[in-house]
């Protein structure tokens, strides 16, 4: 498989803060990759370095085996930044024509309209008069204008209504089916799960996990066994078993987290903890993810 993007030991430090800390990964042609992580995890900083807007403090970013700033790279990528911006004073059609003129093989305006849900009316509107949703659509169209091989979106669906969101993902899937590479960032696990075939889980500027959504989910959302036990019972014996990942008390119940719940049950009886009212709980993904998120907040 051909590699479209490679990051090698990339670090970005701002004056006091290390926003991205020694990350490495590569993405092959045709992959749809989600950069998933809570606010402040370093998603935008990473994307800015990929786009050549920020220079890494250390490490190396390569697109199509070239530097991000090279013209040959720019001709092959399309992007929608977190902060949507449009050129004031021009009508939507004029902006599309202008940006299309920069690329060797642009998509026809008609296609851009169909793909993004811009209307004929929108085309005649001046950019500064567009609503937030229309601006998003224009910005989406600008990302696709050059018929890019690699498309990068930073939190693309923030501020989109449900219809636009649906249409957006539909278009993304169409492009993915054509063998284009797509990278997008999000802080919604659900979105990453639905749209991507690979998730890079960011936490505190580092990659906490990298894999298919199913793998990631299995990793962050572990099933657990919960039970009630007399308060004076020591849970000490359970700590010695490596199959158990975590033990905590919540609402008068003891929770034992492990991917192997059968083994936990076995241990409960073996250690004679006098457990009553035993329940097996499937891992709650959103909860697990939120937990991950909250630790990041504390770290700031």
């Amino acid at each position: 498989m051909t590699e479209v993007l490679t990051l090698k030991n990339v670090t970005k430090s701002f004056r006091q803060k290390t926003a991205v800390n020694n990350i490495s990964f590569s993405i092959s042609k045709g992959e749809v990759v989600a950069i998933l992580g809570p606010n402040g995890a370093g998603k935008t900083t990473t994307i800015s370095m990929i786009l050549g807007l920020l220079r890494p403090t250390e490490g190396e970013v390569k697109l199509f085996n070239r530097q991000p700033q090279e013209k040959q790279v720019r001709e092959k990528i399309g992007t929608m930044l977190q902060e949507v911006s449009v050129m004031p004073g021009l009508k939507v059609r004029e902006i599309l024509e202008l940006i299309r003129s920069y690329y060797p093989h642009p998509l026809p305006v008609k296609d851009l309209v169909n793909l993004t849900g811009l209307t004929e009316e929108d085309l005649k509107t001046r950019a500064e008069k567009l609503s937030g949703g229309q601006k998003r659509r224009l910005s989406f169209a600008l990302a696709l204008a050059g018929n890019p091989e690699l498309i990068i979106f930073d939190e693309p669906t923030v501020g989109m209504d449900i219809t636009s969101r649906k249409r957006f993902w539909q278009t993304v899937r169409t492009f993915a089916a054509q063998g284009k590479t797509i990278i997008f960032s999000t802080h919604y696990l659900q979105e990453a799960d639905d749209a991507a075939d690979r998730i890079l889980l960011f936490k505190d500027g580092a990659i906490a996990a990298d894999g298919a959504p199913a793998q990631i989910k299995a990793r962050i959302a572990k099933p657990s066994v919960s039970f009630t036990a007399a308060p004076d019972i020591s849970l000490e014996p359970l700590y010695h078993h490596s199959e158990i990942d975590d033990i905590y008390r919540k609402n008068n119940r003891v929770y034992v987290q492990s991917s192997n719940t059968d083994r936990v049950l076995e241990l409960l009886f073996q250690e004679k903890l006098g457990a009553r009212d035993i329940q097996i709980e499937r891992g709650k993904l959103e909860e697990a993810f939120e937990e991950l998120t909250s630790t990041t907040k504390e770290a700031i």
Binding site: L53, R74, L81, E83, V86, M87, G89, S101, Y102, Y103
Partner: protein
């Protein structure tokens, strides 16, 4: 080349759609011109010479304004709204972008000069020779360079409001003290001395010389070139300092 043309065209469209431009750079100078040559009687010794002189003043006033204001404020606006960031990701090179903006500005200036010249000629039936019309037009076009450089300096500011405020004040101060609203001969001695060192005075002075049948003085050219170099260096220096952060 096509990229450059499209870019230029769009730059021009944007300026022409800007109401401030149409008001400040076309309507105001023509209105002033009408008032100070027809309504208010300034009792000039030579009516024809004064009318030609003041037409040059107003054209210089117009072109100086769009050089300082239009370009600078737009640069700040584009940066503040993130458009310049987006442009950096497109394959358009910085130099083509800059060149297209300058070319677009020049076309706008040619348009302003032509419109105001025609308006002035019609209002007061001014009789300059064809060479004088063309030379004074060219002088104003080229003399705008130091002011475009001021525009790029203004363009380095972070807030649109600051940029608009500063450029407005600078524009008015340069215009008045450079003798574009009224000749510096009627001003106090101190003002006359100061004017000798202002780019706006020398910008106007070259045009006045041509309109009265002379060539611009060397001093006019020298000072404008010096200011151009100064502003360009300053702009380069500030940009480097901003990038370092």
């Amino acid at each position: 080349m096509r990229v450059f043309q499209v870019q230029c065209k769009m730059e021009i469209i944007r300026v022409l759609r800007n109401r401030y431009f149409v008001f400040w750079s076309l309507m105001m100078p023509i209105l002033f011109y009408y008032i100070f040559t027809n309504v208010v009687n300034t009792h000039p010794q030579d009516e024809g010479a004064w009318q030609a002189h003041y037409l040059m003043s107003m054209t210089v006033f117009s072109v100086m304004g769009s050089s300082i204001m239009t370009l600078g404020i737009r640069m700040v606006q584009e940066r503040a709204q993130g458009w310049s960031t987006f442009m950096r990701i497109t394959p358009l090179s910085d130099s083509v972008y800059f060149a297209a903006q300058m070319a677009g500005q020049s076309v706008i200036h040619i348009l302003s000069i032509t419109v105001i010249f025609i308006a002035g000629a019609l209002i007061n039936n001014i009789s300059l020779s064809a060479v004088e019309w063309v030379m004074s037009g060219l002088w104003i076009l080229l003399g705008s360079l130091p002011f475009l450089a001021i525009g790029t300096l203004i363009g380095l500011m972070r807030k649109v409001e600051t940029a608009a405020g500063v450029s407005n004040v600078l524009y008015m101060v340069l215009a008045v003290s450079g003798g574009l609203w009224m000749p510096i001969e009627v001003m106090p001695k101190v003002m006359q001395t100061i004017a000798q060192w202002l780019p706006s005075y020398h910008f106007g002075s070259g045009a006045w010389e041509i309109a009265s049948g002379h060539a611009p003085e060397w001093k006019n050219i020298l000072l404008l070139v010096a200011y151009l170099v100064l502003f360009m260096l300053l702009s380069k220096y500030i940009r480097r300092k901003q990038e370092a952060v």
